[in-house]
């Protein structure tokens, strides 16, 4: 019964994979009109010596480490707060999950309005707070800030997801455990740090790995907010690969970069599977 699905998946994933693999060893520049030419591993050498590739990798790395880290920390904090209340928690979670569910492109548009230098509510907020000393800041056009503005859009979308995920983990902790900690004289923060967080670790790890894979592919928000600019300071690896493939039509090079990303993702996916088995095996939730 798995046959039809596996056959279709083979068709729509193995074909692209093999095709990408084949393209990695050719030089095929559509703009020059020359036919594809075998060049061995030169495309990979080009990637590893291309400063723009490394710049994109660095930006993506920043988004992954700082952005996903922030989501994990804020999400866990939010979950601990949500766990303290009883009334209206369900409604609150539903409302908080709206950012997670909407399309990244739409989220990008919302933040374009919010970050707007002349008419945006964010600058207005800062102007009011600082009594008019701070106004008209161009968040998306300022090199030191633009990447963080992109990051915040992703953090805004996915922190609630982390919170609801961690909350699910929290609710699965047997209350006897927390009572035992209390009987043993643990303070509130000791219970959180020594009992609750270690139990939650596998769940937080699962969420972090999922977000890591998604953020590594971050494209929509960049496209909508900055187009990789100013300069290349917000260019992610997915965005740079898209430019090489569909703007500069450098097909072999695009394939090589795509292949490198595939390797990274596969390694992370393997870790995800490992933790998924642990979590489902009854270690935690």
């Amino acid at each position: 019964m798995a046959f039809p699905a596996v056959a279709v998946l083979l068709g729509i994933t193995i074909f692209p994979l093999l095709y990408v693999l084949r393209l990695t060893v050719v030089s095929w520049e559509l703009t020059t009109g020359f036919p594809a030419q075998f060049v061995g591993l030169q495309n990979f050498v080009r990637a590893l010596t291309d400063p723009r590739f490394w710049n994109a990798m660095k930006n993506t790395g920043t988004l992954v480490v700082a952005g996903v880290g922030l989501q994990a920390v804020l999400g866990t904090g939010l979950a601990l707060e949500l766990n303290r209340i009883r009334r209206s928690r369900t409604l609150l979670m539903s409302l908080l999950l709206i950012p997670t569910m909407i399309a990244p492109v739409i989220a990008g548009f919302q933040f374009r309005m919010i970050y707007h230098d002349q008419f945006g509510p964010l600058n207005y907020l800062f102007e009011v707070i600082t009594g008019g000393r701070f106004r008209g800041y161009a968040w998306l056009a300022s090199p030191p800030v633009a990447l963080w503005a992109v990051m915040w859009t992703d953090v805004w979308q996915w922190t609630p997801f982390m919170a609801v995920l961690v909350l699910a983990g929290l609710q699965a902790i047997p209350s006897e455990l927390l009572e035992a900690a209390e009987v043993d004289g643990a303070t509130g923060s000791q219970t959180v740090w020594r009992v609750v967080l270690p139990i939650l670790l596998p769940v937080i790890t699962i969420g972090t790995l999922i977000r890591l894979m998604d953020t590594f592919k971050l494209f929509d928000i960049v496209y909508q907010l900055t187009g990789g600019g100013p300069g290349n300071v917000t260019e992610t690896i997915a965005y740079y690969t898209y430019l090489q493939g569909f703007k500069f039509f450098s097909l072999g090079y695009t394939a090589a970069m795509a292949f490198l990303q595939l390797i990274v993702i596969t390694i992370v996916a393997q870790r995800f599977l490992h933790y998924q088995e642990r979590v489902r095996g009854g270690v935690a939730v």
Binding site: I102, A103, L165, F246
Partner: protein, 279 residues
């Protein structure tokens, strides 16, 4: 649990209220902007509540293309592509998920491979799919976009449904098999109705993933097919930004997402973690 002091409870309420404000403000701002007049969104200090809630932005944004960028076409195309990919993923995915769950078809390697196709960077499959679609004349068609989205939705459906099937006790189907039912009938008449909630969750999430999808829609379509996610960025840019119109398209575009967040809340964790964590 310890009884919380009054001060701590107030602090908690403040934290949650602040979080709610932060996470809802951009959505509310878009909603309000969709009703503003041109003078209102180009004013400083910003206008928060528009003077009149006029629908003029909606009417402008939704008009069917004289200029090829009408929001109604976006609604139509997003609906077609999202439902199409959802249907294909469920039809193919449910039997496959059942077979993985009950008979461990292909062992762990096959299921890992299925999962890893879900994790594929879209930019990696975009180039070969583009060249393939070009030679098959599938660019700028609903079918092409449905196929491209199925690359991600089918493994998602298989993986999520597999978990739902694994949660079912096997005894019922075993009894049916003993009574002479075929494996397919045991699946269709017994297991499938029992995972109905799982099917609904999987269907709705597959729908939303395609609804939100951007890169394939950007690369594989031009004018005949234009999903809502394409229309929004295509209106942004140039010299003038049509804030009101884009916001109106945006509000229409997030209706299914908001409904899903409100209705499916308990299942979203499970869906978004591919079944790893049950909410």
């Amino acid at each position: 649990m310890k009884r919380h002091s009054r001060a701590r409870r107030v602090l908690g309420a403040v934290i949650l209220a602040t979080a709610l404000a932060i996470f809802l403000f951009p959505v509310v701002w878009m909603f309000l902007t969709s009703f503003k007049s041109e003078a209102e969104f180009f004013s400083y200090p910003p206008v928060f509540i528009p003077k009149s809630f006029s629908l003029v932005n909606y009417l402008n944004a939704m008009r069917f293309p004289p200029d090829g960028r009408g929001g109604l076409q976006g609604v139509r195309d997003s609906l077609i592509v999202s439902s199409g990919s959802m249907a294909v993923s469920l039809l193919l995915g449910a039997p496959a998920a059942y077979s993985f769950a009950r008979y461990r078809t292909g062992g762990p390697n096959l299921s890992f491979w299925v999962l890893s196709t879900r994790m594929f960077p879209p930019v990696a499959s975009a180039l070969p799919l583009f060249l393939l679609f070009r030679s098959l004349h599938l660019l700028d068609t609903h079918l092409g976009l449905i196929i491209a989205n199925t690359v991600f939705n089918l493994p998602f459906a298989i993986w999520l449904l597999k978990g739902f099937f694994e949660d079912l006790p096997a005894e019922l189907e075993e009894a049916a098999l003993v009574d002479g039912a075929t494996i397919f009938n045991a699946f269709r008449r017994i297991a499938l109705p029992l995972v109905a909630p799982g099917l609904v969750v999987t269907a709705l999430l597959s729908f939303i993933f395609t609804w939100n999808e951007f890169m394939f829609a950007l690369l594989f379509t031009r004018s005949d097919v234009r999903t809502l996610t394409i229309i929004v960025p295509s209106l942004v840019g140039g010299h003038e930004i049509l804030w009101g119109e884009i916001a109106a398209v945006g509000v229409v575009a997030i209706i299914p997402n908001v409904l899903l967040a409100l209705l499916l809340q308990r299942y979203l964790v499970r869906g978004l973690t591919l079944g790893a964590v049950k909410g």
